[in-house]
């Protein structure tokens, strides 16, 4: 663990800009996957509309910067607040009226879609034409406005991933973690043991939404352009859950491990094919599907639990 930390901190000194951007992407998926995992992995509430929180988070902080020049350190809080509000509305509707399982997942998709359509009509945020944050010079560290070289983005994502890991570990070992897992395994039995299932599920949604909001803020300031049809798309929601699904839903290391495996392999294959002179559009999606198929067939609990068993680690 300590070795891994040192390795990750020292990584930028050893690799070029392309590898650094891949590493940043891995961390981005590792972080967002962990955020999703709180809701699905721990509490068993399947969200297929997490792009909603990424998008709302990104647009909130992005708009504050675009219109008023307010940096993301302030925008972050508003983004989290708004995402929690969105999450609680969805959670309230679902949990109060007993919508669960597949129907809950459909509700999360529906809300992400509503929001996409809504943002398409918000001219103040650029509408379907997109919103573009001014790209500042990339070689100075302007931490206040979160503008700087790739190194800054890498380290901030590394910090966020480590922080999320710490939060998830503490949550899972606390009363909340036990209650969520009980709800995931058998809601009726959980309730009979004195658990107010409504309240604890709402808490899981709120924490997951707040964490995902931060990932949206990062997205806005890293990529600098936001389009509703991209950021709120179903593809985005699926893409960000592939890490935890492949790595191991409900485990602490799974989302991180899954993000690394998936991104490294898919980028590796795309690169290898490009080197051979084959540029195949959409090959990444085909590859994602293939990996998912293999994992579901042979390692239904994800790759990480199998690896942990081999290495005799409990996590």
């Amino acid at each position: 663990m300590g070795l891994l930390a040192i390795l990750l901190i020292a990584l930028p000194a050893a690799v070029g800009p392309y590898a650094l951007s891949v590493a940043t992407l891995i961390l981005y998926f590792a972080y967002t996957g962990q955020a999703w995992n709180v809701m699905m992995g721990f509490a068993g509430q399947l969200s297929l509309g997490h792009s909603l929180y990424v998008g709302v988070g990104a647009y909130t902080a992005g708009a504050l910067f675009f219109h008023y020049g307010i940096g993301p350190w302030a925008g972050l809080w508003l983004a989290m607040l708004l995402c929690v509000a969105f999450g609680l509305v969805i959670g309230f509707l679902a949990f109060r009226f007993g919508i669960s399982g597949v129907y809950f997942a459909l509700l999360t998709i529906a809300f992400a879609e509503f929001t996409r359509i809504g943002f398409d009509h918000l001219d103040w945020l650029g509408g379907p034409g997109g919103m573009f944050l001014k790209v500042a010079q990339r070689d100075t560290w302007d931490v206040l406005n979160f503008r700087g070289p790739p190194l800054m983005y890498y380290y901030s994502m590394l910090f966020l991933t480590a922080l999320a890991f710490l939060i998830c570990t503490l949550l899972l070992k606390s009363r909340a973690g036990y209650y969520w897992q009980a709800i995931r395994e058998n809601e009726e039995a959980a309730q009979a043991l004195g658990i107010n299932t409504f309240r604890w599920k709402m808490l899981a949604v709120a924490i997951s939404a707040a964490m995902t909001a931060v990932s949206g803020v990062f997205f806005a300031f890293y990529y600098n352009n936001l389009f509703p049809h991209e950021i709120f798309s179903m593809n985005r929601s699926i893409e960000l859950i592939l890490g935890p699904v492949i790595g191991g839903i409900g485990t602490l290391f799974g989302p991180i491990f899954g993000a690394a495996v998936l991104t490294l392999l898919s980028d590796g294959i795309t690169e290898a094919l490009a080197a051979l002179g084959w540029e195949i559009p959409g090959i990444k999606q085909v590859f994602y599907g293939l990996v998912l198929l293999i994992v579901v067939m042979f390692l239904p609990h994800g790759i990480w639990p199998a690896v942990a068993k081999k290495l005799k680690i409990h996590a």
Binding site: K173, S174, R175, Y178, Y179, Q181, A182, R184, E185, N186, E188, A189, A190, Q191, A192, L193, G194, I195, N196, T197, G250
Partner: protein, 239 residues
């Protein structure tokens, strides 16, 4: 301690429980028996908050509890087990019990201590680290009891915990409940088909038939009651 007063509950016109009344005095062990479909489990579910009664009231320690949610009933001090066991299959035996223990213990360390002591009582301590899904049926029944006990109930509702156990296992379980009742003053209300267990445990028995309480008394009185014999064995007809 617990008073059930004229409680009725119907499901789409099917009268599952009709004006049932009985009480459970503090510190006692009470049995509720009756043929299949008599409404025993429905009464349990009404007490435990799974259903609100259509009519009547339920009073626990001088407070009305009818209409409360299951978690509120549990927090009030009533623990329950399920007839069809519902373990948290993906969690270990210890973690299963800790979920219950967190009701009164806010820290993981406190919950672990309480859970370990309960697992010892139910002879499950050697299996604490196993996943609940690997347990045999008798052990799952024991886990069900351990989890309910971890919420520190003052009244424990047992829904057919003896069903499916071998006679020796059944006697073991009877001993556990006797011990809890004697040493810790735990009040118990059990639904049971296994007469061996009911007769050995209960001081007082209520008989439910077609959703109505048709007899109440000591085990000896109840087995001689003509109404009870009739519902179990059928009416005597002259040949």
């Amino acid at each position: 301690m617990l008073e059930v007063r004229h409680v009725s509950k119907s499901f789409r016109g099917l009268r599952a429980v009709h004006a049932a009344s009985f009480e459970v005095p503090e510190g006692s062990i009470n049995g509720l028996i009756g043929p299949n479909g008599a409404g025993k489990t429905t009464i349990f579910n009404v007490i435990a908050g799974v259903y609100a009664p259509d009519a009547g009231e339920i009073v626990f320690e001088k407070k009305r509890i009818d209409g409360l949610r299951p978690d509120q009933v549990c927090a009030a001090g009533i623990g329950r087990t399920f007839q069809l066991v519902k373990p948290f299959a993906g969690l270990t035996v210890l973690d299963n019990v800790m979920v219950g223990a967190f009701l009164r213990e806010r820290t993981a360390a406190g919950a672990r201590v309480l859970s370990n002591s309960i697992l010892k009582k139910l002879d499950l301590d050697a299996k604490a680290a196993l996943p609940a899904s690997s347990l045999t049926l008798p052990d799952r029944k024991r886990l069900e009891v351990a989890r309910a006990l971890a919420t520190r109930p003052r009244l424990l509702l047992l829904d057919e915990v003896m069903a499916g156990l071998r006679p020796t296992e059944c006697d073991q379980m009877v001993e556990v409940f006797r011990d809890l009742n004697r040493r810790e003053g735990l009040t118990i209300l059990l639904i049971e088909h296994v007469m061996r267990a009911v007769m050995a445990l209960a001081r007082h028995i209520g008989v439910l038939h077609h959703g109505e309480v048709i007899a109440r008394g000591t085990p000896e009185q109840v087995v001689r009651d003509p109404a009870v014999l009739e519902c179990y064995l059928g009416e005597e007809t002259p040949v």
